[in-house]
Amino acid sequence: MLIESTRFGTVEIRDDAVITFPDGLIGLPGTRYALIAQSENTAFYWLHSVEDPGIALPVTNPWLFFGDYEVKVPDEDAEKLSIEHPEQADIFCVVRAAEQLEDFTVNLRGPLVVHAALRRGRQIINDAADFGVRQPLFSEVALAQVRPAAPVAPVAATGI
């Protein structure tokens, strides 16, 4: 299927890779998003709204940057996502991108939990520890040290 993007023009995505967030993302409209990679070997993905051409959030796997990061998924959230085992889930954190690498921040407090096989997701509030909503991303790790890891969930489009 084709989606329109104010950033990337018309993008062809795999229909079967669209992630549904039944309760949406906090403060944003719409419930259906596609995970899009700009290159094969990347630490960042765009979570692009299928419904709104202007909405796309950069996301990353937090463990690429914070090896000791922890997520506690509350039972009721896990139940809503039908997640019974941790390996069923992808965890993404929303990145606030900037012109300069040192100004990139990541929200470790409100991660996105995605059931990879069902492609159903939910933004949760992570109370595992006192993680910040605006943690500098490149303070502890240089970009060159980051080893990309593909998510469990299928990527809807690559190479935009």
Binding site: G27, A43, A56, P58, K80, N107, Q123, V146, R147
Partner: protein, 74 residues
């Protein structure tokens, strides 16, 4: 805005399905017990506001190229 006084152990009902119980009052802090159906998300307000602000800021960044680790193929 409705302003009411409650003591420890007393409750407030919000509609048919949501009950808030004042569990304990200790100095400046109040412990609340909230019973709500699972489809009603309950968040601490300041965290909800902060996450909402980050989502909106992330979604409106003018950046279109995200950085790619260049040494990971070595």
């Amino acid at each position: 805005m409705l302003v009411i006084t409650r003591r420890a152990g007393e409750r407030i009902c919000l509609g048919d399905d949501v009950t808030v119980t004042v569990l304990e009052i200790s100095g400046q802090a109040v412990r609340l017990g909230i019973e709500a159906p699972s489809e009603i998300p309950v968040y601490r307000h300041e965290i909800w506001v902060a996450v909402k602000a980050e989502n909106q800021a992330a979604a409106s960044a003018s950046i279109t190229r995200l950085p790619t680790p260049t040494t990971s193929n070595e």
